[in-house]
Symmetry: C2
Subunit: 368 residues, 2 copies
Amino acid sequence: MTGPRITPLVASLPATVPFVGPDAHMRASGRPFRARLGANESVFGPSPRAIEAMERAARDVWVYGDSESHALRAALAAHHGVPMANIAIGEGIDGLLGLLVRIMIAPGDAVVTSDGAYPTFNYHVTGFGGVLHKVPYRDDREDPAALAERTAELGAKLVYLSNPDNPMGSWHSARVVTGLLDALPEDTLLLLDEAYIDFAPEGTAPAIDPDDPRVIRMRTFSKAYGLAGVRVGYAIGASPLIALFDRIRNHFGMTLTGQAGALAALADQDWLAQVCAQVSDAHDRIAAIAEAQGAFALPSATNFTAIDCGGDGALARKVLEGLMARDVFVRMPGVAPLDRCIRVSAGRPEDLDIFAEAFAEALAEARG
Amino acid sequence: MTGPRITPLVASLPATVPFVGPDAHMRASGRPFRARLGANESVFGPSPRAIEAMERAARDVWVYGDSESHALRAALAAHHGVPMANIAIGEGIDGLLGLLVRIMIAPGDAVVTSDGAYPTFNYHVTGFGGVLHKVPYRDDREDPAALAERTAELGAKLVYLSNPDNPMGSWHSARVVTGLLDALPEDTLLLLDEAYIDFAPEGTAPAIDPDDPRVIRMRTFSKAYGLAGVRVGYAIGASPLIALFDRIRNHFGMTLTGQAGALAALADQDWLAQVCAQVSDAHDRIAAIAEAQGAFALPSATNFTAIDCGGDGALARKVLEGLMARDVFVRMPGVAPLDRCIRVSAGRPEDLDIFAEAFAEALAEARG
């Protein structure tokens, strides 16, 4: 039997995944995590109002969710002071990244990002046949000047910037981001991934005209809002671009539960502020834990902290393995020199107690 | 400003959607539906065990759902007696249709379906640049002989059959489906959409070797299981084809809530049987309602009934408009001669009381 004829593009794709999920790690070890600090989830949970809304939704799930996510888009439009026509909803930023790449990238098209930046974006670019061009980080931050230069050289259609950054937790001021925008060729689209913006200091999120055709911003309910498990992200961009999502997306793909949860979560900004305060406390604690072992924590505008273990990638890898062996879930950057660090999500005090002990042991072991 | 450079393919796509959602209809009228019988949702709801599981999940949604949907795939594998490697999970059949088309169809590739069959499949084929070739229904059923003939003529990669059928509710025996499979070119893939199979009589679902590379079957928790609002579908196919979904899908796209709900729903087969009994009662009632007005109901192996209004498409369209004006949500087939019918989802007795009155009025009005 010959089997189905798949496209040459899909046949060429590697059988790798952007991330091995926490559940897969637990299945491999046969044990639950004692502290789950690897996926930048919010262990502080979502607003109790969001939980209530999702509990109520559980009885109503015989109906499809609104295919236009109208109530949620209207609330987001009001929240951001932009028209609804400038907002697209998707199954997390991951889902929106796939759609945006599909809208823009044909086989052979050049795309620019940073070496070590978000793997799932790269996965989608590769998946649609795009050619990734990567510029190095500079001083543990994505490098706007290098991104602009490489983009201009290539005439690239699309350039990716995460601000604040994942996996380092670093960030640029709003002024630097708008400077990048002005430095890019006029027909290049800046994909500004703001998954972690809720944790960033004032002055990080630029004021951008929502109808500026040069940029699309993406945000999520998976991080500060604590709703990773119901998959809700959104994009803010010029309405002609936003309208294109409707030509290709899975129209009934947004769950009733997720829409209800996100709507309630958005309305509870007090909860968000409280989570951000807890994350700030966690940063301080993680920094102290690192310092106590002669390592150090990088500044962070996110809900995670990169800890420089004080050696190279091999040392950090050993520390990570030691933590995982102790059922403490963390991750680490994929490329040098970022990979001298491990990446630890903000935890509750009890999570960080477990981390502190395991980190001390793992680091001592790794140092031999 | 020039704006972003989108692909010629996406630029060529029409700005239409496969279905206007029920919520959009309600926003347009400004009133809620009195009976919601248009989207083949299960008004009988999901298993109470599924509701409980989703209520519990509401507290846990700060974590991402398992990116491998391992527990659900394992349960489905046991349920169907096939290996896990033969099962892919997706955001409803709609999501899986998009992925399968992406795996197989490059611009210009021929795809065969029936004229009047599921629009969302067509939407995805068009979305990836495929060229649809449609054969007519025969006696209100998809026509396997015509599908096989057209597929062979074209050397088409992919052919779609829904069994039982939507929008007519008709069906073929398992023997006819396997006959189609044997009549197709060996390197054509049969996409067998079994969204409604849970309602069909014994002998409708063919026994197919899960490793048969000539066919992929798709099923859903949105219909008989009553979980439309959490988006869970699955495909059963040969493991090399199933593995390709992992190269392109949104790996963290399945919600925690949906996975928990589907797992609990699958375990409650008694609930499923009870829903099917209620659907059977609804068919009888809808047939009686139609007959009382001099119309008649077509036989159905689904959770909806096509009612032949006794005229042409224009008459049925008036009946549909009359029902919608009375806040009774139904739909109708899109092409002649199927469009002499309206399509009414199975309802509870109280839903069908409302339908009965509105249908009598709408039909009388339409007849003038």
